[in-house]
Amino acid sequence: MKSLFRIAGLWIVLVALMMFSTSFVGLRYVAVTFNGTFGKQELLPGRKYACVSENDSISVSTCRFYVSKVELLSDGVVQDQLDYKLVDLFDSTQTRISFLYSTYSAVTSIRFQLGIDSTTNVAGVGEGDLDPVKGMYWAWQSGYINMKLEGTSKLCEKDRNEFQYHLGGYASPYNSLQTIELKVDNSNDIQVNVDVEQFFSRTDMKSISHVMSPSVKAVELAGNAAKMFSISE
């Protein structure tokens, strides 16, 4: 019994010390949140958005993507890193990454890869967000799907008005991994805008309504997808 008290006492002291040191060495939480938009409007599943250039509308049912090697930088120096996260824009529990940031230096930019790198792609089966049950893995040909963007638009009339962009591919010459770096104004609450209109306006949806394997098209569209990301004002 005595030893139990002793352990409890030690525990309390430790916790207190940790809390004290947290404020002392400048530990703070830095959150990165991904928010879907269509132009200036909030992106909601199934909602139709006017598509100005073609006098048509687009609705999105799925927008999921991997971000990997997510780094917080201070004047070009990496301060903190997270290996990977599967973001689902339509699941508010899956849009946020938290860092326990441990230095005083300001976060001046955030850098991440859109997708999963080749090392991870050849390393066998993954766990957590990388588990193939997440539906972001190609079965017939090894490799992660870096991004799934699906929905409907009359632009895709030859494909029952549906589009399915499964963008991936890790091996040359069809490596579709994108690296994105965004400037941040020392914030603990980084809001990343994911504007799907930036993707659609660059993509010829009439001729390409679906991409389901590593290919020239997948690489091209992955480049368009990288243009969706910006920091919210």
Binding site: V122, G124, V125, G135
Partner: protein, 344 residues
């Protein structure tokens, strides 16, 4: 408190000893180092046993009709004898011959076209293929989680009764990695406990001269890709590795299969077009036609005489590993009461 340390230490040592049994995967000195990283994922008994149960369980298919072993029978060195093309649920027929499974730890890629890059993710291909198991790994996990037996087996193997896709695939990989074929007559000759007959020796000499560039010893494959000039089946229209790389240079290339256990794995070739070993030898000897896509070692016909063909086949029979195909550790697990809910 002090007294507990030795007990704990002993217990953890015992547990460690139980969890990693290196002899589960052993290989002779003359084998090269495996490609698979056993240090990262050591093979252990409980995961292997679970993988074996999964391998023989049709629960992996949509209608619980087809298991891995349906097309990969242990008695045929895990190939599908007498079936040109793989079979699946609803009597569907696939596009390629089900390959034999052994020495998988030495293979850098899987499937006839090398579309799969790691043994751990290979089962995803047949599980999801519409003419094989037509299932999804998500649903397999759900079915296993609902069963009476699997949550406990996963707990024993992984310390967690919550089943994940990762753990299903790791267990299947572990079982398949233990399938090492290393005790054929050829192996006995290599370790000097047996000798070839004069005929086998002659066949071996012919083999080394004509075949071993692609079917390199001691695994009897480089596991690279090659075209042996077979005319394209106009029904299947299978262009091999081209489908994976979209590179014209890879047209008609298929993975070089190992010739170990070749007497058990008929019919032969990626589409099972040859029923016997003699047909295969005849093709290489007399049937090769000049083609743009044929791989360089086969630019010229091999031209074996009738007696040379017999000798060559005699040598190929020394690659049959009876201990492997009759190994009880690799066969179906003992039947237990298994309650698996129907499809949902």
């Amino acid at each position: 408190m002090k007294k507990r340390f030795p007990v704990l230490a002993l217990l953890s040592l015992a547990l460690l000893g139980f969890r990693s049994i290196p002899s589960l995967v052993g290989w002779p000195d003359y084998f090269p180092e495996p490609v698979y990283n056993f240090e990262k994922n050591p093979v252990n008994a409980s995961e292997t046993e679970l993988g074996r149960k999964l391998f023989y369980d049709p629960v992996l298919s949509l209608d619980s009709s087809t298991s891995c072993a349906s097309c990969h029978s242990p008695y045929n060195s895990f190939a599908h004898v007498d079936h040109k093309l793989s079979h699946g649920i609803y009597d569907s027929i696939g596009k390629r011959n089900a390959p034999a499974l052994f020495n998988l730890a030495w293979q850098p890629s899987f499937m006839w076209d090398g579309a799969v890059n790691n043994i751990e993710v290979q089962p995803l291909a047949p599980i999801s293929n519409h003419s094989e198991m037509n299932e999804s790994i998500e649903h397999v996990v759900m079915k296993l989680q609902r069963s009476d037996v699997y949550p406990l087996l996963f707990f024993k193997a992984f310390g967690d009764s919550v089943i994940t896709g990762h753990n299903v695939l790791m267990a299947l990989a572990q079982f398949q990695l233990t399938l090492v074929s290393k005790s054929s007559k050829y192996d006995s000759v290599m370790d000097h406990s047996a000798t070839f007959t004069a005929q086998e020796q002659n066949g071996y000499t012919l083999f080394r001269k004509n075949c071993s560039t692609c079917h390199a010893e001691p695994l009897f494959s480089t596991y690279g890709f090659a075209s042996n000039g077979l005319a394209v089946d106009t029904f299947l229209r299978d262009y091999g590795r081209f489908a994976v790389t979209h590179n014209a240079k890879d047209s008609f290339l298929f993975k070089i299969p190992s010739l170990r256990n070749v007497s058990y794995t008929y019919p032969y070739m990626h589409d099972g077009r040859f029923a016997t070993l003699y047909q295969v030898v005849n093709y290489y000897s007399d049937g090769l036609r000049p083609s743009t896509y044929i791989s360089p070692p086969l630019k010229n016909r091999l031209l074996f005489s009738a007696s040379e063909k017999v000798d060559l086949v005699a040598f190929l029979l020394t690659l049959s590993d009876k201990n492997f195909i009759f190994n009880k550790e690799f066969g179906p697990p003992r039947r237990e009461k298994s309650v698996v809910p129907g499809k949902n």
